[in-house]
Symmetry: C2
Subunit: 136 residues, 2 copies
DNA sequence: TTGCGTGCAAAGGTTTTGCATGGCA
DNA sequence: TGCCATGCAAAACCTTTGCACGCAA
């Protein structure tokens, strides 16, 4: 697939990749990219193209009912490990460890369920946010 | 909070509670309940009321961007175990076993992540659908 | 020059809301 | 009778799409 290098695309990708552990709504991205001068339709088009190529990930924010986008990188093998997303700050952690693999194998062996890790997102609260809440 | 017992509410709740292992979009519920004779605004209003009381659970279908609703019942402990949804047939399995608990504990102990199982849905393919695919 | 990317505006689809009416208690 | 629930339609909202123009390669 051919692809041109345009100012809008560059700025959008740069913005997201500089914030790999944060997620943004389309509106926030519009404002941040190109000083709000990039049309929203172009932003959406770039985002869906990036999502299709697994460079950016799309999430649903339960509370606001808005879609959020987050950079996951080109070389990330996100299909092979779990993802834990913090419901408070939105931070996405890649859980790549033996126990995850074991759990996936257990699901297959005992429950007959062949999991697709790339699509399975574990929601909860990260250590940092939990600490904050305890303090408060 | 006072609450009247109406035909619409009864049918909606009855439909959802008879299908605890499935989730539906608002549209599907509209069609199923009252033979499509219950207005969509009433369906939405009942659903949000049921969600507020934790009788029904709401989550986002990442692919279709639609909200889906599932009965969890008043005394359901869906917050304490994982849910595995089949990407083929849509069936939702409640994974309540020791290994799930262990994995959740591992996430907490090693990754500092306090998981909310009720909101974490594991996507994959169930045994029955996999068997079908192998045959095909 | 080719054809992808863009911006604008309009359309699309889901969910919410306003308001008058209907029905439970 | 008092109030909640309902239905209809319109609004609100986010996202996608059509189309003509601009720009990268």
């Amino acid at each position: 697939m051919k692809q041109y290098k345009t100012a809008g695309r560059e700025k959008l990708l740069s913005f997201l990749s500089r914030n790999p552990d944060r997620h943004f709504t389309a509106e926030e991205i519009c404002l941040a990219v190109h000083g709000g001068e990039m049309g929203q339709s172009s932003v959406y088009r770039q985002l869906s193209e990036l999502c299709a190529n697994d460079i950016v990930r799309k999430f649903r924010d339960e509370e606001t009912a808005k879609t959020r986008y987050q950079y996951v990188g080109e070389n990330c093998d996100c299909r092979s490990h779990f993802h834990a997303k913090c419901l408070r700050c939105g931070k996405l952690e890649h859980i790549a460890c033996g126990d995850s693999v074991e759990f996936a194998e257990h699901l297959f062996a005992e429950h007959g369920f062949s999991i697709d890790c790339g699509q399975s997102i574990l929601y909860g609260v990260c250590a940092r946010c939990r600490a904050k809440e305890v303090r408060a």
